[in-house]
Amino acid sequence: MKRPATAVVLAVLVLSASPALAWDPFREERHPEPAPPAPERGPDPAPFIAPPPDIYYVTDTYVADVVTSSGPLTTYSTSTVHESTGSYARVLDSVGTGVASAFDGSAFNGRRALADGRSVAGTYYENYVLTAGGFVPVSVVFFQDDAELARLLAATRAPVVTTSTPTISSTPSATARPLAPACCATSVTSVVTIASPTLLPSKPIRPGISLSPISAPLAVIEVLRGREVTLYPRAFVDDREVAVQSWRVVAGDGGDALATAGSGAAPFRTSWRRLAPAGAAYEITLRIEVDGPETGHRTVDATIAVVVRSPALER
């Protein structure tokens, strides 16, 4: 009796069995690394794909656009690093100052403009990555290479040279930019001299903020979240640096600053624990006070944009 019953039970179990979903222990270990592309089976198993003309292997890689100022001269350049990322590139277009290009707006780093609105000179490159299907264009980058002279140079130097009367410092806005182009500086000078021969404008003060006492001032910096950074308020007259008497934060999110004001000898130390909204940056304005023989007692505002980043995993 037991044997037939056991046989019946086993038969029922076997007949009623169905596939069950099993737990796959390696499901999450399957990383997104793409499988090598299978060779296409066609009449020609290895068709020749002609590379784009004048393409070359990249050995110097774009890092950032750099704008440096030395006295009246503002230089627009591109910093690179000597290393290879495994990509290729070719020259698309070399453009001069103010010359429009068909590739304007296509570069991921954009194309800057001079103070008068003209686009800077430089070269457009297209980057390629070599895949099994040939060279695939992936991005366009613009390497800027230009310079301009501050147009107030002549307007501020000429009165000093041509006038021997004692000067009385006025207090124009230090951030105001001259409007006359360089070609017209002489006429501007004469107008200033005639209109107010004894009340000459002070030399413009060019404020800036740098990450070290001797490095060039920067307009934008990237910092890691929570990492303390030291910002040095700086001020320049012509090509000379002048001493900063004091500074204070007047606008923007200064982060977790140790102090929001200080003397010229004490830099601004701070850190940011929060990331700015996507695509945005913290803009901080420092009011810099100078008081020297060639500047008089004046204040100027320096602004810097801070992009806070955080180490994160990529998926």
Binding site: T6, P25, S79, G86, S215, V223, S310, R315
Partner: protein
Amino acid sequence: MVLTLVLAPLLLVALAGALQLGALRVAAARVRAAADLATLVAVNDQDDAELARSGALRLSADAADVAREYFARELELSSSLLDGAVDEIAAAADVAAYPSAPAYDVRTGTRYDHPVVRIAADVPVRTPVFGALVLRPVTTIHVLAVSSPR
């Protein structure tokens, strides 16, 4: 009685296999965490001179070495699960640092828009129960970790 004798070995095998799968899952999670942490530490290692010069974040020159070192340190905590010396496993890992962006991963073809540290490693894990069940006594876990400042 007969039914018990027939089914007991099957149940024991199933139980042992389930326990081994669970242990393997734990080991895989720890290995992945080790790689993730190593890349995060390496990304945190920035070139301060370049930052002062250009204002841009750029990985320090030894970022890949830092990632490999910390990968070994993190694996050390799971060394009893591994079938091999952690130093050898870390040394065999494919660690790449792309200090500036954009860059293209020569291994995966991925485009990176930020400086990146990437670890791709094959980590052998002991699975003795599988070996007793005429399966692989060592299971290799493939791990890929990529980190960047974003």
